[in-house]
């Protein structure tokens, strides 16, 4: 026919006429099949682990929250369906609402302090000389690297009522009489210690991330604003802050999620026996399930926790999907 026919068309016509051997045709289709299944094969191991250890427990959690699940049921491996009785029981429990309020207030205070102080130190890093900046970032990384359980033990020693360095310093500074002051006798001062511990441990991550983001802000924008006569605070509010908004959304939602489920700091600091004044939602759920063996009630509290966290997660996901170049 035509000499100008593209190669593909020629091949197709040959194939149609049945000249290509059958074996070669099979190889073509097998390769296409391989292309289609390869990503699923690659994903399967990771997806299986995540599915078994995250998705199934999540389903089990919701299921258990509608069941009576005590020691007897634990041995039988079978819960007894009780409908919404667990939820009715916790919603009518004034202790539960106190715990919710305490957790929310504690989370708000910790997250605000972490974000404000972390950002302030990041801005400070821009102002200081090079050697101070290197010293400060090295120090921050050191603090960042300290395992939580180690940090709890250090702080426990620092606020020890007898030999703690905190009581000595505060007494020397004449802030009050802190000789043999027991920080955990009063939940307010106890939670002040926990706030200090958590904010101290969280600042390095926030500062280093915000600083890394600040370094990416184009210099010309800041200089142009300065030439236009904007004051430093105005430049920060009008130029830097909007540019950093994505990173702030991510960091704030991560901080909310971490602080909301605070458990180990309080648990280890108070020798695994916190009084009910120190219950946060995670500790309350843990206490209900592992200490008094009401796993169903614990699960219901945990479901409420997950729902609370879901709001923060939505913000985080939206921002990650927007900035994480997901197509």
């Amino acid at each position: 026919m035509s000499r100008l026919a593209p190669e593909g068309a020629a091949v197709a016509s040959v194939a149609e006429s049945g000249v290509i051997p059958a074996s070669r045709r099979r190889r073509f289709s097998r390769r296409r099949l391989g292309q289609a299944t390869a990503p699923y094969v690659l994903l399967t191991p990771a997806a299986a682990v995540i599915g078994v250890v995250l998705a199934y427990p999540l389903y089990l959690l919701v299921k258990m929250s509608f069941q009576k699940y005590g020691l007897f049921e634990l041995i039988r491996h079978q819960g007894r369906w009780v409908g919404t009785a667990n939820y009715a029981s916790i919603f009518h429990d004034s202790e539960f609402w106190r715990v919710v309020l305490r957790t929310l207030v504690f989370t708000t205070v910790c997250v605000s302090l972490t974000m404000v102080l972390g950002t302030a130190i990041a801005l400070l890093l821009l102002q200081v000389s090079r050697w101070v900046r290197i010293a400060l970032t090295t120090g921050l990384v050191l603090v960042w690297a300290v395992p939580v359980i180690v940090a709890v033990n250090i702080w426990r020693f620092m606020v020890d009522y007898q030999f703690g360095v905190a009581n000595w310093t505060l007494s020397k500074l004449h802030i009050g009489n802190f000789v043999r002051h027991d920080w955990f006798a009063n939940p307010w001062s106890g939670f002040a210690v926990f706030t200090g511990l958590i904010v101290w441990g969280a600042i390095p991550f926030i500062t280093i991330t915000v600083y890394a983001a600040l370094a990416q802000v184009p210099r010309e924008l800041l200089e142009a604003a300065a030439i236009d006569g904007a004051r430093p605070w105005a430049i920060f509010r009008e130029v830097t802050l909007p540019l950093l908004k994505p990173i702030f959304v991510i960091l704030t939602s991560l901080s909310i999620i971490w602080d909301f489920q605070v458990f180990q700091q309080i648990w280890v600091m108070l020798d695994s026996r916190p009084s009910s004044d120190y219950y946060t939602m995670a500790i309350y759920a843990f206490h209900q399930s592992f200490q008094i063996s009401e796993y169903g009630l614990g699960a219901a509290i945990a479901v409420v926790m997950v729902i609370f966290m879901f709001a923060a997660t939505l913000f985080y996901l939206r921002q990650m999907l927007r900035t994480g170049e997901v197509h």
Binding site: A47, I50, F157, A285, V306
Partner: protein, 295 residues
């Protein structure tokens, strides 16, 4: 001339050097503030190390001894000879190394699928990967315990390893995917044009370029597995099976509060993490922010 000097309000310094001097003064002020912040932040770590080297009578004094004037190593030997220390070290090393190796392999395969193929269900999987990082561990511990007791994995290192793997994988997949996306397609293709097989192109071109990503992921997995407490605490009952963090948390209940050995033990437990953290911190911070600011 004289009238000019009278008009100037403060005729101390020549006009040209005054702003520079003020600028230098301001810089010095910021530096002092920066050093103050450093001192406050670093103090707990300093206090731990300093206490670890102090003899008991210096620790138990009402006026703090800032620097160990009579440094001793007895706290460290006490900590090492504490019951179950070597068991805990062994368990931590086993758990951590298995988690690191398995998470690298599984995450790499998954990241390959997400970065190099487009397929049905890719975006939902990414949403799941990002979403599961947000599920509170404290809430999952109850059903995990029920599930693990059904399959007889309570009080076993293998059960703990599987759980750690799950909590490391999402981040690992996400990080490696980012690194894989950063490798230009043309590099791989040109290697294959030059006659390399797909596998050969992978080993010679892709793997070296992914080195930093693999290292960052490995160290992240290491730190997570080494530092984790809640799962190990709930699932490992027998003292011989506990990891270092559980050992450290139960330190005081064994012999009363013995601050010197406790701080020495804490120093020993944090040493590996501190070393690895210093190696990798820039990558983690920059990995999170890359592409977050668009000028």
């Amino acid at each position: 001339m004289s009238s000019v000097t009278q008009i100037a309000p403060t005729p101390v310094a020549p006009a040209a050097t005054r702003p520079r001097a003020r600028k230098r003064l301001r810089k010095a002020g910021w530096n002092v503030l920066g050093l103050l912040v450093l001192a406050v932040m670093i103090f707990p770590v300093f206090w731990m190390i300093s206490t670890a080297f102090k003899p008991g009578r210096d620790i138990l004094s009402y006026t703090p001894q800032w620097i160990p004037l009579h440094p001793v190593l007895s706290n460290f030997t006490d900590a090492i000879h504490q019951q179950f220390f070597w068991n805990a070290v062994k368990n931590s090393v086993i758990v951590t190394s298995v988690v690191v190796v398995l998470s690298l392999v599984l995450a790499f395969l998954a990241a390959l699928a997400l970065a190099k193929f487009s397929f049905y269900g890719r975006k939902p999987f990414i949403v799941v990967i990002l979403g599961v990082q947000m599920v509170p561990l404290a809430a999952l511990i109850i059903p995990l315990y029920i599930m693990m007791s059904r399959v007889h994995q309570v009080d076993k290192l293998s059960g703990v390893i599987v759980m750690y793997l799950t909590f490391v994988l999402p981040f690992a997949v996400w990080t490696l995917r980012g690194f894989l996306l950063g490798v230009p397609k043309e590099l791989e293709e040109s290697a294959m044009v030059d006659g390399a097989t797909r596998f050969g192109a992978f080993v010679r071109i892709l793997l070296p370029l992914l080195g930093p990503g693999l290292v960052a992921t490995a160290i992240f997995a290491f730190i997570q597995a080494w530092n984790e407490f809640i799962i190990a605490y709930v699932f490992l009952h027998t003292p011989e099976k506990q990891t270092l963090m559980v050992w450290l948390a139960s330190f005081t209940t064994l012999r009363g509060t013995d601050w010197g050995p406790l701080m020495a033990g804490a120093t020993l437990c944090s040493l590996p993490v501190i070393i690895f953290f210093v190696l990798v911190q820039r990558k983690i911070a920059f990995g999170l922010t890359a592409g977050a600011v668009k000028g």
